[in-house]
């Protein structure tokens, strides 16, 4: 039950109780006034109304003794009339008052809880990338204002921590580049020694391959970290997406040749999006490369581009082992490489789809990954068309 409803109900109950008490007291007051007339008091107290018992002692003995017994039936009729009269007054005045009070209470409750709703919505919108946005404070120093302040302080601390992690990764990937440059340069220099035997040269070249692989990982990581920190600016030029897709199609045919893949372009509608040409090509090439790498010999791969309402819809499908459903939500995670069989068979940095997701999002779009054992793996990218 919502706080607003609960409080309103409590309020109504308290209101009802106080009104009843007020009614009962007024009733008693009336009765006492009338008890000044002879023959009233005894019978009234004789009714044994527990609430009024202690007041019996206050009554003067003289008055009690002088009560004439004959009056009693008349007194009983009057009492009923009086009770009804009080009830009528209560009904005419009390019930509307109750309704007004409950409605007013409801409204007040709603008003005072509105900041809580606003706070809830704001907290719902908070994620790791907008921690710097502080929630607006009412500034009136009440409990909710204090809560907002505390919440803001918490997000500021979180933002600080995220910032530190990002900076750490950024510095780490940057610092790694100098030793990598030195290693690569020195291995290459060593390769030039004419006195090297073939075995020695092979060993050095294998080291060179690994250094270059490491360099690629560091590159991808530093790109994503910079993107996280909002340090990568993208161009916003009109880009003919279908042209880029045709290029990617040609590249994909070449890439798939050694595995005898059948690559088909099922649709290529002319679409212009506003964005960064280089990044969009990177997105297409990463997806094309994945569709080839995670395929099977003599498998199939398709790519298509359609305009669907206000969006460009790019769909890449490929045959192959697919990915279990429980792992699909993780494909955009950095360094996620699927199960062991995947990782060992396919070379790559494990950052390709993370980069794809970043590029799609940076263009205001989205990526969807669907796969399953024995079914096609489908990656759908939607980009807004301006």
């Amino acid at each position: 039950m919502r706080i607003r409803t609960r409080l309103s109900l409590w309020y109504a109950a308290v209101m009802l109780a106080s009104l009843s008490l007020m009614g009962a007291l007024s009733y008693y007051q009336f009765v006492r006034q009338r008890s000044g007339e002879p023959g009233q008091q005894e019978s009234l107290s004789g009714r044994g109304d527990q609430g009024r018992l202690p007041q019996r002692d206050e009554r003067p003995d003289a008055a009690r003794k002088s009560e004439p017994r004959a009056e009693r039936p008349v007194g009983g009729g009057r009492r009923h009339g009086l009770f009804a009269e009080v009830m009528t007054i209560l009904g005419r005045v009390g019930i509307p008052a109750m309704v007004m009070a409950v409605a007013g209470g409801w409204w007040l409750m709603r008003r005072s809880l509105a900041p809580v709703e606003a706070l809830t919505r704001a907290v719902e919108r908070t994620h790791e990338r907008n921690l710097r946005q502080q929630l607006p404070r009412s500034g009136n120093g009440d409990e909710l204002d204090r809560l907002t302040e505390v919440f803001n302080a918490m997000t500021a601390r979180l933002d600080q921590s995220f910032q530190e992690i990002r900076e750490f990764t950024l510095h780490a990937s940057h610092e790694l580049k100098t030793p990598l440059t030195v290693m690569q340069g020195e291995i290459e220099t060593a390769c030039r020694e004419e006195s090297l035997t073939d075995v020695q040269r092979d060993r050095l070249l294998s080291q060179l391959d690994e250094v270059q692989r490491l360099a690629k990982i560091v590159d991808g990581l530093s790109l994503l970290t910079k993107a996280d920190a909002g340090q990568v600016s993208l161009a916003r030029d009109p880009v003919q997406l279908d042209e880029l897709l045709r290029e990617a199609f040609e590249d994909m045919q070449h890439l798939g040749q050694s595995e005898n893949l059948a690559v088909t372009l099922t649709a290529c509608e002319p679409v212009v999006v506003h964005g960064d040409r280089h990044r969009l090509r990177q997105l297409l090439l990463n997806l094309a490369d994945n569709a080839v790498k995670y395929n099977e010999p003599h498998g199939r791969a398709t790519l298509s581009l359609r305009r669907v309402g206000p969006e460009a819809e790019l769909v890449f499908t490929n045959t192959g082992p697919g990915l279990p459903r429980d792992q699909q939500s993780r494909v955009f995670e950095r360094f996620f490489r699927g199960d062991a069989s995947h990782s060992s068979a396919v070379e790559g940095s494990g950052l390709g789809l993370s980069i794809v997701e970043w590029i799609a999002r940076a263009h205001g779009g989205s990526v969807l990954f669907e796969s399953g054992a024995g079914t096609l793996t489908t990656v759908t990218v939607r980009l807004p068309v301006v």
């Binding site: 580049k177 440059t181 030195v182 030039r192 590159d219 790109l223 990177q282 090439l285």
Partner: protein, 250 residues
Amino acid sequence: MCVEAHSTGREPGGRERFTDPPIGRAMRILVVEDDTKTASFIKKALRAEGFAVDVCHDGHDALHLAETTPYDALVLDIMLPGRDGLSILRHLRDRRNGVPVLLLSARGEVNERVDGLNAGADDYLPKPFALAELIARVRAMGRRANEPRTTVLQVADLTLDTVTRVARRGETTIELTAREYRLLEFLMRSPGRVCGRMSILEKVWDYDFDPGTNLVDVYVRRLREKIDSGSRTRLIHTVRGVGYVLKPMP
């Protein structure tokens, strides 16, 4: 392998003829790099290629040297103590100093590349780079200004007409896709020299990122099938870990 590719490159082409200094004088290069180890292997490699090399580790000294000495090219790191590479470059260009500059950077970001080229750099190479790639680019910078742009390129019995875009090996015409043509033209413009994967991706694909695929290798393999099948002399050769070279070799 690397050695061969470079040493043979100097002889038949006589590339030095096209560089600024007169025949007999080596190209003089200033390497500005604060990391001593990096500076050291760059110096060693460029010297092995026949360049005269000066090394400088500080930004202020570098600017002074560049302004007072007539270098044929500068290899300039962006992050430097004293004064950063971009500021040195801007300063030189403001003073109408047109010395060819190759920028190096560990940050290797697109924006930085664009900034560098806008500031007047002739080329940009992100770290870590292949040494052969660096050498090829330094050579290209020295060459760029004076080399005549011929319309028909020839290596052994392979010719490429850059106007009609027709490739021939001996008497046989070779069908090429647009990208294969660009790749072949790029390789043929610097015969005998190693073309690094990065340069190929940049010039042929216009990619300014490493796509992490074996795209270049796949295209070169295909091109090699078209060019070298049926000929006794093979022209396209792999330089492992670095890239490709086009030269006649049985």
